[in-house]
């Protein structure tokens, strides 16, 4: 798995570095810590220092001296690359990558571009409070990244133990990658999985034999020893349900191109969900 961790110098980024380290180390992932500077003329040393500090915390958060990542004994230098600057880390055979990168340009656009160009599977971004504002950025930066990134995005809000993942998983179209991302999240948190099924006046909603498709998803998880169950929600009540359920656990919403949830949710649901959710939100693609 490849993870892109977008950060700046604010608390909502710094406070989730240990959680990002936990996710990365447990999934044995290659990770890039990315920040963005506006000017392309010269490396912003303050931003470089912030990345170095975040990396130190990242490595010290992992038991066993940062393994499987390589901890250099000297501060990391940066070299210019086409998209900005990249840390020159040393390496050790068998270690996973923990890269530092600084891109230049518009923050939202550059995070999205890096996610796409680097073929990442997951973007992690912090948004610790409803009024969280990325420094010098629009209020809704995490929302915009979550809406536009080509891969899944985990917006980490409050850090607290989570025993439940609430999955809005489109039973007829969900991608294998999304099912797998849920598996990893459930494993990491040792959580139960509540799967949301939609009902309308004619029963369960969706294309084809929805009942069988939902049973397939449930069987997929129970066969893998995940404690999962289905909760039915009326289509009209979905938005209210989602904002209320976000108090109980991490919300995972599949928003792939063919997602029924993406069609049913009002246009700005992702924004509202991230803004109002009291827990972390995983947008699956």
């Amino acid at each position: 798995m490849r993870i892109l961790f977008a950060v700046d110098d604010q608390t909502y980024s710094g406070s989730i570095v240990p959680e990002a380290a936990r996710i990365s180390a447990n999934t044995w992932a290659d990770i890039t810590l990315l920040t963005v500077q506006s000017s392309s003329n010269k490396l912003d040393e303050n931003k470089a220092d912030i990345l170095r500090q975040h990396k130190d915390i990242f490595l010290s958060s992992i038991e066993g001296g940062g393994f499987p990542y390589y901890a250099s004994s000297t501060p990391e230098d940066f070299e210019q690359i086409s998209s900005g600057w990249q840390g020159c880390q040393g390496s050790r055979e068998g270690s996973k990558l923990c890269l530092l990168k600084i891109r230049s340009g518009d923050t939202v656009r550059e995070i999205i571009n890096e996610a796409s160009e680097g073929e990442y599977d997951l973007v992690i971004i912090g948004a610790s409070s409803p009024d969280c504002q990325w420094k010098n950025e629009s209020l809704d930066l995490p929302q915009k990244v979550a809406e536009e990134a080509a891969c899944s995005v985990l917006v980490i809000k409050r850090l607290r133990p989570t025993g439940k993942i609430i999955g809005c998983l489109d039973q007829s179209q969900i991608s294998q990658e999304s099912l797998e991302m849920i598996n990893q999240l459930v494993t990491l948190h040792q959580a139960d999985l509540k799967i949301i099924g939609l009902t309308g006046p004619k029963g369960l909603s969706g294309k084809g034999n929805v009942e069988a498709q939902m049973a397939d998803i449930l069987n997929y998880y129970t066969a893998r020893d995940i404690n999962a169950w289905i909760t039915l929600v009326e289509k009209q009540a979905l938005e209210d349900f989602v904002s209320s359920a976000s108090k109980d656990g991490i919300m995972a919403v599949w928003m792939g191109k063919k997602s029924m949830f993406a069609k049913l949710f009002s246009q700005n649901l992702v924004e509202k969900l991230i803004e109002n959710s009291q827990s972390s939100v995983l947008i699956l693609r």
């Binding site: 798995m1 490849r2 180390a25 447990n26 999934t27 044995w28 992932a29 290659d30 038991e63 499987p68 068998g94 073929e119 599977d121 294998q176 990658e177 099912l179 797998e180 991302m181 598996n183 990893q184 494993t187 990491l188 893998r224 020893d225």
Partner: protein, 126 residues
């Protein structure tokens, strides 16, 4: 004289994994055999050696960890790559202690596993 193709065995109880990997690896010139049942794969590795084995961890019957031990005891030079949807530090460490070449958590892009296979191939040819 022709170069012998690098042989790859893929074992995953989810057919979609092999369906995705096999054509991509064959296009890169690998000889690929796929299995969804661990006991069938076990029978096959007793019949012939593979250069590289890619195996899931959590499966009915023989687990990926047990399968890897069987592979290594039968053919120590085979490089084993673990792929899993349920990754933990403990399972990764256990895998490496048993001689795994690399450990990948799902989901992963084809490019990522292709790089790992290439490195495993280079090692197996040394």
């Amino acid at each position: 004289m022709t170069d012998k193709k690098t042989s790859v065995l893929i074992l995953d109880d989810e057919p979609i994994v092999s369906k995705r990997l096999k054509p991509s690896l064959e296009k890169k010139g690998y000889e690929v055999e796929t299995f969804t049942v661990s006991l069938d794969a076990l029978k096959r590795i007793r019949e012939r050696d593979f250069d590289i084995v890619i195996t899931d961890l959590k499966m009915e019957g023989l687990s990926g960890m047990e399968f890897m031990s069987e592979v290594k005891s039968h053919s120590p030079s085979t490089e084993v790559i673990i792929i899993t949807g349920f990754a933990t530090m403990d399972t990764a460490k256990e895998s490496f202690s048993k001689g795994v070449f690399d450990f990948l958590a799902k989901p992963f892009k084809l490019g990522e596993i292709a790089e790992v296979i290439k490195r495993a191939e280079e090692k197996s040819r040394k």
